[in-house]
Symmetry: C2
Amino acid sequence: MGGSSRRGERTDRDEPVSKAVVSRLSLYLRELQQLIRDGQETISSTQLGALLGFTDAQVRKDLATFGQFGHPGIGYRCHELIPVIRTILGTSESWRVALLGVGNLGRALVGYKGFRKQGFELVAGFDLDPNQLETGEGQQPSLGGGAEAIPIYPISELATVVRQQGIRMAMLAVPAAAAQSVADQAVAAGIDGILNFAPVTLNLPEHVRCIGVDLAIELEQLAFAVVNNANKA
Amino acid sequence: MGGSSRRGERTDRDEPVSKAVVSRLSLYLRELQQLIRDGQETISSTQLGALLGFTDAQVRKDLATFGQFGHPGIGYRCHELIPVIRTILGTSESWRVALLGVGNLGRALVGYKGFRKQGFELVAGFDLDPNQLETGEGQQPSLGGGAEAIPIYPISELATVVRQQGIRMAMLAVPAAAAQSVADQAVAAGIDGILNFAPVTLNLPEHVRCIGVDLAIELEQLAFAVVNNANKA
């Protein structure tokens, strides 16, 4: 690590921000949030890079794309940089998110603690047949406990609920065979961002953003790390 | 989007392979696999880059790190490049993977189709109390249907099963409060790669590789895409 070329330090304001930079911003944000929890107020680009396996030049270059945030002799102030990154990412205000599909994966997502903390609120779930969920007689079907419980609606009510609740994003957690059809309904309902857990490529209109979650990629990255670690030892 | 600097094309064999390169290899692999399914035999670096939002120079540079795979006037041959990338990633032979925790997330992971296809075989699950699973009287508790069904063991049998089954990797899908303790047991049992779904940072020995899956990061990337798309429109 360290010892990167100086070339990396030029600013890049005129170029479009690459996916790689945006994904590193999320990683910086997580580390800064952890530092605050650990009681650390400031961090140098070298330290921040070291936590993530990046060079100091990479960190400085990424952040310099958006402005001057470092302080000479101090580094970055965590409390200062966190809202900056959240503003860049678009998560300084919270997003209302719909869950499409309430099978095992959908239930796991309802229970996932990491969303709300980062500005994403699951406000409604949808399924072909919400009445399959165990609920009291005549009660609105729901999933999750306490403050995290969300109502589950039949998918036929998607457009109405999306409009009423100001939902713009959806997590698609239906079986692969249903994914395109449910995505089409989400788009028709006004959703313009889809996090797709189904292992299929969706055909979507130009204006809709979609990110596919491919868990096998994470395992591949782990395989590489295990093999290359083993080879070193 | 095209027009990158030529600088990106030098080879980098002397430098350690960065996480960013390794993660792009997974993305190239997925696109190549999809191309084959679509009946396309070859692809240029420009086309491959365009599918993923990278420049042609980035694609050529990444692959040149490992050798010369392009053919003048043809580009890359999909059938030739796929096994090369799998060998680099360490997934040319399949990995035997344990599932730790069989709650909603664990069940969703058992049903996830994407693992086996990429060389990861879930061979055993572990839980504090496998007998909570609905199984026939006196039968080995199991999860999943048909060929994908995996036996579920009490966590106390982890070391024995890991040794017997030649398991090196585990997916950690237990609640946050139990994650460190279960990870410690996995390490003691000989696991040297952990895919951590629990939203906590694990303290692990130096020789163990760990990748954390942070689903909020995917949502943040989607938020950025939605906001910046909206701003453009």
